[in-house]
Structure formats: structure tokens, C-alpha cells
Symmetry: C2
Subunit: 495 residues, 2 copies
Amino acid sequence: MIRVTFLPNNENIEIANGGSLWETMLKAGIRPNSICSGKGICGRCKVLLKEGITEPTVRETELLSPEEIKKGIRLACQTRLYNNCTVEIFPENRIGFQGIFPLNKVDNAKDFQSSFWLDTNIEKIFLTVDKPSLSDQRSDWGRVKEALVRTKGKNLNYLQISLPLLKKLPALLREADFRVTVVICNGEITALEKGDTADRVFGMAFDLGTTTVAGYLIDLKTGEEVSALAKANSQISYGDNIVSRIDFAQNKENGLAILQKEIINTINELIDKTLQNTGISRDDIYEITIVANTCIHHLFLGVILIYLASAPFLAAFRMGFNLKAKEIPALYLSPETNIYMLPTISAFIGSDILAGILFTGMKNSEEVALLIDLGTNGEIILSKNGELWACSTAAGPAFEGIGISCGMRAIEGAIDGVRLNKNIINWHAIDNGNPKGICGSGIIDLVSDMLRIGLIDKSGKLITKKECPFGIGEQIKNRLDIRSGEYIFLLVKEN
Amino acid sequence: MIRVTFLPNNENIEIANGGSLWETMLKAGIRPNSICSGKGICGRCKVLLKEGITEPTVRETELLSPEEIKKGIRLACQTRLYNNCTVEIFPENRIGFQGIFPLNKVDNAKDFQSSFWLDTNIEKIFLTVDKPSLSDQRSDWGRVKEALVRTKGKNLNYLQISLPLLKKLPALLREADFRVTVVICNGEITALEKGDTADRVFGMAFDLGTTTVAGYLIDLKTGEEVSALAKANSQISYGDNIVSRIDFAQNKENGLAILQKEIINTINELIDKTLQNTGISRDDIYEITIVANTCIHHLFLGVILIYLASAPFLAAFRMGFNLKAKEIPALYLSPETNIYMLPTISAFIGSDILAGILFTGMKNSEEVALLIDLGTNGEIILSKNGELWACSTAAGPAFEGIGISCGMRAIEGAIDGVRLNKNIINWHAIDNGNPKGICGSGIIDLVSDMLRIGLIDKSGKLITKKECPFGIGEQIKNRLDIRSGEYIFLLVKEN
């Protein structure tokens, strides 16, 4: 056995001699950054070996610079360990390192009130149930149902209740002195609570992106968005894009189960943090709604992807679908919590786009309208006269920094804002750190300003110093250069 | 450790020195016969110690005769073992020894056809599903549903399907070349099968008695009763009657879970034997229906009995109730198999009586009608002008031999038929064995004939030899005797 220590967190793990560093990281719970899922193609899983430096492999000499190799930088997927060693994981190469981050809450929710109204399918009703006596021997459930009919003033013959709740009912009724609150969802009682809890009704909405998962806590009594958090989708270490994840799910042992577990873990972490931040109890969440692209949608449910991924590209199902939290393995919610999966549109146009269509109200627009979703997959919806046309393609993960030589995710050190004019270069890096790369919003800023002042022509071509339009200052002009035979614009000078 | 060997099956088990024989039997999977659940009251758990005979306890000297003690007969619940020993279990004292036995099938089913007709809620439909192509990218479920609507010629918007079946769908459709049979139960698809299997539709009906559990296999295509088997309810070793089982469920650690497991085991054994006898596959059973007294009904579902057992005696619920086999722990049926629990009437009048009411059609009778169910619990239903009145009491387990000095269950050696007239005594013992006792049908035969020829008077009192009516032969008269100060009628003379 040899011992591997990971910095900066000083995680220690013992492995068999000759073990792969990539596998060791996974065992230690550290997910290597990767596009190629450890196949030695993308060169993303760089680590710094501080002790126990290994001989570089052929792939490493191809994918790493001589300086990097000299420093001790290696690729996790290429490295086999034969000595105790200390490995530093770079923040930008450690998925999930940034943890959970807040999203901008929709504070201007009132702006949307004309097109949206609170219409939850969760109903909480406080009941004073008749106490039993020798002259009233109705069953426990019978008297709860009678109290419901009395309180609601309508027939409830359709009402269902699950066995676990029926089992809970007798003791709960008596502990609560026959004063209970019932929760009704989709014609079924999904929770029973002691006393009057009708004021506490929450739901969560999740957007499962290929790269990022966002979770929103909504007060279903008021419609208020109480919390909005996001986190990297932990599936990323098994592939940065949909195609590589489909490949992993189909071709790796337990691939589907592993990816399902990762997305559920990510959701669990968001739920935990949301509850921790807001002080709301897990049992107060009665419903979650989920949108996702069709691939992540299937992965969350544990549905095989093979027919989604190969012609003629079929989803297993597309309809909106209710299920219980207990049907999803290890999803940490009250077991009877309702999960509503919004309908998907096709194998590659998911329910996330549907949510966008609903949100914009574009279907009812009298004008021609275009909705563009620039995620890791990009989708475009065109609306005309109430007809909608949709298509999708891989748009990213450029906006997460993939395929961009200096690209990176929006984490510490990423340039996330740029302002260029003819004489001045301004940029901003996240957390005001040293710039380490550029993320999606920085790229959009940069490209739009370069286009505006003429450093990029209408065809998208980067101009040379000689072609530089009149009026561009020397400071800017000098940043147009050639390196290794390629035209570049140097946004930040090396120290 | 000491070794205990059980005869006649030569089961061996090692236990700690000083262990209880009762517990040892349970560990060895042998359920002692008992009314008092091992409290040393009923004296039923007699065993014969062939080696390692123990000193009799005070309770044993009270409950066993000196001859029995001399022979080595002891009570399992009173005996602690300090030496290796060999213990013979008497067939009549070993619950379940008799195993599974056939019931008389309802061959005269046609007699009931006027009042019953086949009206199953299981529907099997063979579908030829459109194959997908690049010009038909509907989802797998979408095309199955379309084929269903096309085949059935009606709207099926209400139709549900569970996640496990949706997960199964894509591979199954392709393996079956898009020719599948769907099973619909209660507005939900509960099974998907390759090819055309619409002809194979079976259901099982169970009557969960306190003492005996019966299972009937019904061909839901024809209504034919294919098999009828019964078996002792394995819960018996934890109490012979409802009250002792309620006591066990409430006061023993895991009592409820143990009793639930026992009744499920009994059902599993009946299902196994039924499938084995008929060659029908487990997956061809799409629904089971269950009737039981309310206590066993609650135990099967794992619902606490405390409020059922104490005033004002409330069932947790009484309504008819559908659930899936997967909701009952370790019930060995296809997970989506529907279970319909018939409604119960009150805490002590179960769904078994309801089934009797339905079967007799007494509710619609123009005459006053009385239904008597002589089970371990006895129930009486009086019907007049469409109104039904019900009451129940402990009627047994006399008819299973409990409380009768020579009583026993209807197993080998039990006198199950008696014919008396003034000069002749005829009796029949099961399997033509030596008579070992008398079972319920024997008792009814005997008492009715004794009443008819005057050996019992109208008040139920056994007459003395002197009171014997004129015309009774000497042979009969001599059987009226006094033993240990009690009047007796000697049905069979000792050898």
C-alpha cells in the first residue's frame, strides 16, 4: 500500500501500489476536471505532484508543456502511483470546489405577476376531528375524512391515502388530541401533521443543467422566492457534456446508476444548504418541480439513454409526470413528497426550455419571438402565430470555458467582465483575484466590444495589427499579436 | 453450548447452556402449539424429552399427569436445557406440521352464476406499436399510448404508469419488436409483457383466518377456480386466538413486525405451492384480493392494534383499499401486482364476513336471513328488509380443538365424523389413523347426535346413566360415566 495526500485539504488515502491517480481522486471524493472522462484526450485533469513525482507518460509529454512537466504537473488520468506522494489539486481543476453559490433572487417578481399567479396543487387543511367513543366507533381514517368533508364542504370520495400514512394515523391522531393538519396533493393525502401547521407550505423548483444545478425555495402560501442557490452538477467529472455522459452511462459498469447518484447528491446538497440557510424544516417541503434537458431528466429518473442517444433519438417518455420522493433512491426528502417532472419536448429539447417558453409567454405573443437558451446545450425556439419551432445543438460548454484556450468556469480568478474602448482595457476577475482565465460572461463582453471597436470583423475573424482600424490606440493595437502561428488578442499581460 | 436434536426430523441446533426449550424450538423453525404463547398456562406445548430429561417444574407438575412426567413429557415453555438432549415433537403439537392441504374446490360454481358474474378489473391488451423512425420521433410511452387508444378506440388520458415500468419500457419494446401486451388495473398500467400474452390472466383470493389461511387461484379469463389450498396461519405459535395475538403485537419487542412476517410467510407458502401445482408463473398473477378479520387485516398491513384492542375499539381504517405488492415487505409477488383489501365492517367484524354477505346475497333476500360464521372468532349477521345487523364474539378456537379436553385440529388421528344411534357408535378418524382426539366437525356430529337421541338435554346438559332415556342400548349407556368428578361420554374406549 502507498499513501497519497491531497492538498490543499490534506485528505489522505491508501491505495495499492500502481493504482491510478484518477481512481484515487474519485475514491477520496475529489472529482477531477475532465472533458474526456479520463481518456487522456482533453488534458484537463492537471495536478501538481509535490512529492513522489512520476515519470511523464507519452500522452503527458504531448498534452503538457515542458515547463509544466518540469514543475511536477501531471495528468491524473495518466499517472500511476508507485510511491507515497503529495498531490496538489488546483481549485479550477477541482469540480465542486467552489461549492454552493447564491443566485440572484427574482426580487422583481411583481413584474411577472400579470402573467403568473400562485396556483399550487398543495393544500393544507387544519381539522378538528371528532373524538371516538363507544357510541362513535368509526375508524380513524373515517373520522378524518368526515372532518375533511365537513371543513371543505364538499365530496371527497376520490381522496386517496397511502399505507405508510394510514399506519401513522392512529398514534398521530391521539398524540395530537385529534387536532391535525392534512396535506392534499393531486387528490391524495401526502402528509399528516399534529396541530395547526396550515401556514407552513413550501416547495422547491430545480433546474438540472448539464453544468449547473439551481434550486429555488418557494413559499407556496405567498409565491415568494425565499432562496435561490446553485451548484456544479457533480456528474461533470464523468463528462463535461451530454454526449460524454451518455457514453459513460451506456458503456461504464453501473454508469447509469453512478450518474443518477451524482445528480441526486447535487440536489441533496442544495436542499441541505437551503434548509440550513432558511431554517425551514425538510418536512415543510411538500413538492418539488424539476426541469432539465431530456438526458439529465432521464438520468435523474434512472432511465436508460441508449435509445435517446442513437437514431432515431427517442425519449422513453415525454409527458409531465408525478412521482413520490421515495421512488428516487437516496433523495433526501420526506418519502411522500410529490415530485413533478415537467414534460420534455424531444430527445434533445428538454423541460427547461418548456419552462422558458412558459415564462416568456411567447406562445401568446402577437409578434414573431425567438428564445435562445445558451446552456451547455443550446436551444432556440421560434414562435409565430402561436406555432412554436424548436431545435438544439451543443452550444457549449464554451460558456463554461471549455474549448476556449484560456477558458474556465465562473470561479475565483475568472475574468467575468470586460470593457474595451479604443484606448482602454478594463476587466474584472471574480473575487478580485489574479486573473487565471476567462469565463462565459467575460467572453461575451470581450467579443461584443471587440466587434464594436473593430478588432473582430463581421465574419468573426480576428484582425491583425496591420488591419487595425483608424483611431485604435497603441496600447490596444499592441495586444494584437501572433503566438505559435495563431492570431491572438492579449487581454491581460503576463506578470 | 449444548446441542438439541428435534425428532422426528432430526433437526439439530446449538444453544447456550440454560436456554429455554421454547425459544430453541422457535430458533429451529418449529412453532410450539400454544394458547397462552408460552406463559405456562395452557399446558399445550408438550414435548417428549428422550435424552437429557429435565427435572419437572412446579407448573409442569400441575399441568402434566404423573404418567406424562414419568415418560419424559415436559412443557416447552417451562423447560430450560443444561445438557445435550433429544426432543420429540408430537405431530399434533407441532403447528404447520400438516403443511399445506387442498380445500374442496367450488366445482358447482355454475350454481352461483345467477348471483355472480366475472367482472375483473384486470385488462390485458395486445398491442402492435408503431416502430420509431426519424420521421416519427414520438417517445416510447407516447407510441404505446397511441397504440392503446387505437386498439381500444377510446380516450385514455387518465391512464397512469409507474416509474419502474417506464424504465423497463424502452428495452422491452425493442426486444419484443414493438409487439407487447399491456396489463391495466385501476386505470394504471401494472405490467408490460413481450408478445401476445392476453390469454394468461390469473388472480388469487385469500381468506386470512385466525387459524387457517386459504388461497384460491382464479382464471380471470373464465372465472374458473383453478386451485384451492389452505395452511395453518403461522402466527398461531404466538397465540391461538385474536386476543393473545393482540397482546403479543403490543407487548413483545417487534411483536407487530413478527406477526406481519408470519402471515406474509403463510401467504407466500400458499402462493408457491399453488404455482408449483398448476405450473402457472408468478408474473401471471396480476391481482390478489384479501379478506380477513380486522385484526389479521391490520397485522397483514403492519398497522398497530392498540386502538383496535382497547375501548372504544377502533379500526385504523375500514374502507376497501388498493395497494401494490411492493408495499408489503417480502410478499413474493411481482412488485406491481395489485392487492385489493376488501372493506372491514368494524374492529371485530372483518372483511371475511362481508365476503360471506356478498356471497349469500342475503342483503337482497325478502326473508329474514341469518349468517353464522363459526371461525376462531364467530360472527352472526342478521338481515331483514335490506338492513343488516352484525355482532361477533370469540367462538373458538373450540372448533380447532381448543378448550375441548380431547380437542385437536383436523389433522391425522382427529375424529372428524361421528354417527350415533340408540345402539351403535360409528366414528371416523382422519387418515384412518388411531384416534388421538376430536376436531370441530367431529364435535358438531357428536353433539347433534347426542342431542337427537337424548344424551344431551335441551339445556345442553349431559345426562347421567340413570337419566338415560328409554331405548338407548347398553353399549351406549355404559359410555356415560364419571371421571375425576366430571360427567363424561366415552366416544372411543382406550385400548
